[in-house]
Symmetry: C2
Subunit: 451 residues, 2 copies
Amino acid sequence: MAKMAVVGAGLVGSLWARMLGNRGHEVVVYERRPDPRLGPLHGGRSINLALSDRGWKALEVAGVSDLVREIALPIRGRRMHAVDGTRTFQPYGLDGQCIYSVSRAGLNRILVEAAEAMPNVRFEFDHRCQGYTKHDDGVTLHLEHQGQPLDVEVDRIFGTDGAFSAVRGRMMRNDRFDFEQRYLPHGYKEVPMLPGADGSFQMEEDGLHIWPRGTFMLMALPNPDKTFTCTLFGPYEGEDGLNHLTTDDAVQAFFEKHFPDVIPLLPNLLKDWNTHPVSSLVMTRCFPWNDGNRVALMGDSAHAIVPFYGQGMNSGMEDCTVLDALLEEDDDWDRIMAQYTTVRKPAGDAILELALQNYIEMRDLTGDPRFLQQKKLEARLQKKHPERWLPLYSQVTFSHTPYHEALANGRQQQRAMESVMADAEKWNHFEDDRWMEAALSALDQLQSATT
Amino acid sequence: MAKMAVVGAGLVGSLWARMLGNRGHEVVVYERRPDPRLGPLHGGRSINLALSDRGWKALEVAGVSDLVREIALPIRGRRMHAVDGTRTFQPYGLDGQCIYSVSRAGLNRILVEAAEAMPNVRFEFDHRCQGYTKHDDGVTLHLEHQGQPLDVEVDRIFGTDGAFSAVRGRMMRNDRFDFEQRYLPHGYKEVPMLPGADGSFQMEEDGLHIWPRGTFMLMALPNPDKTFTCTLFGPYEGEDGLNHLTTDDAVQAFFEKHFPDVIPLLPNLLKDWNTHPVSSLVMTRCFPWNDGNRVALMGDSAHAIVPFYGQGMNSGMEDCTVLDALLEEDDDWDRIMAQYTTVRKPAGDAILELALQNYIEMRDLTGDPRFLQQKKLEARLQKKHPERWLPLYSQVTFSHTPYHEALANGRQQQRAMESVMADAEKWNHFEDDRWMEAALSALDQLQSATT
């Protein structure tokens, strides 16, 4: 079988190494950081992640889903906190449909060990990628190890080295390679919420808690150790901006004004605030995702997105599922690599767009009564006509519909809902269900107009 | 005075070195290529360039415009060639308003020598920039010379090293630095048109010749040695795409079909076609253009654009004029550098947009009778009411109005012209001039609505 180099031993890289290993290839994973099992996580990366159906499918393909289930905490929906203390629950999907909170470090350990357990997969940590050179018989991967250059000859390279990918950095020098890195004018800071005095969770552990406040929001996602990871997302600039939350007084006043119900749950807020960094939010896009038949980008190296749809990891894992399926169908690497870009590039662009939209939804619309009403109506519509109405969130989170198709469907659904919600006198949504047929036929019309 | 490093000895770098030299700074220009005066130009760069008012102003500020006038060939307007041989002349501006064709190599030589003639300016060729490190007292510029690393300590660095700038490559690693590189799906190939048998120009030398053909076009710009540089711009893909013009038969048939009047003027077409490369067309955008008070990007390193407005060099030279004026007004480098980004970033975005639009105008609209009629009407309007109507092309080419203001003005003018041209029965544009007042008042209304 072929010699494969995977650059980056993060979630996508180690998962992909396992899939390549399953296919019998000889795989070496080169990672610039030390072995993550030897110490704490490096860099300002989020502590926990939301795993949903696309991720689970990839884990199943790789044969590691059972191991991951042991560390996954089910999350049934959003739990919204208004300033006045009012709380609202909004389920993510139908009964039993959940997303799962997992620890990045725990998941990474499982994936590295599942790959490393194979006789044909090896990990080399402390190896920094410095680029590559394609030639007729293969590709030379240029590495640096302990300050010394090291070249290795392989058949293919898979760049899974994240938003600031060195593999992509080399591709950027290719003629006609498009690239964009764009930062949100917003950043974030994480602080932990410890268990209560009795050792248990301080809030419902089945929800992603959100304090929507217009231009900024607080979020909390539970961990199996009964803590929550709380994250404030907000603009750098402006009166309530992160750049101004730099003194104890300012932070205390900000939380008292906007998140009064959280203050008793965060006794160490000021200390934690001062010791945790503000992190930025970057998006990247590029094209193509392959360099001929020799190199491909997967995960954040191809499409880094903002975290608001919980799809960053899931979309990267879906890259693995899709590329693995192409390997199953074909053995011509020219076709496989070109097809990979063709299939996945529109999906990557779409989830980038969806994730941006969801930031506005989470921080602003989840505090809007009309938006919440629409979500309730859509949930009723889905329950009554599950075959005709799958809400956008469910398409993204609980289906394997390509993201760009989900995005297009979602836009049509939004227009269909607007058409029945616009005239409140005509449609008494909570008295009878006549509006449902109107919404469904509006959707049918929109769909038939585009196909 | 301060120690200044300029990275890149191209047109913008050598001009800026001269301006810094004029202000008494100690300047060293580091260029990765050999001295351009020792051999032919490197890389697939255009042979000649159009110099217009913004460029001339910068040359005047630097005190080198008289030297450049000696090598500049005036171009009065566009000379369009239809497939059937019909030819149309469209002046660029009022009588006496011209753009100027200059040789890149000749202009670069003048600028390097004008800078080098100063006792406080030095050039170091064969020095490749590898990045920089800011520190409290200045900034270390990391270079490579003859395979060896070389660090130099300076007060400021100016990155004038082009579309693939190494200085910007280092800035890209800064948190919250936005960057985009995007290629057109079109490329170009240059072929020379030699003088005729009598040693003179084969076409009128006062025009930029255009063969507009919808999705592609041929262009020819005269040189002082009686040659023209002919450039085919077109898509890579498709029936008439550059990717298919790879055999003598295909090239011959393509020129016979689309540019029959050129064939007798290009006896060496097939040989030249085969020996000249296809070059791609890249655009770059980034933000910010400065790294604190230590580093700034100028010219293509900050804003590489497509060549269709003839403003690539002119916009880079205008960066020099603007930054030089900031140096005249202020001596606080925090303010100077921040202000430079604030003032020039919107201008860079606008000229990128304008240059893209002009590609469509040149290759498609210049063959459209309605478009040509509008241009004639605008020229008449300008002649009669010069204080109230300055066509967009003139604002960009013959004024110093910031590009983003020109872009906004141009959009309003377009809407005003559409409002009077829409109703041909009401306005008999060629019988009387009543439409002029209507167009002017439509423009006034649009302008007052936005101010």
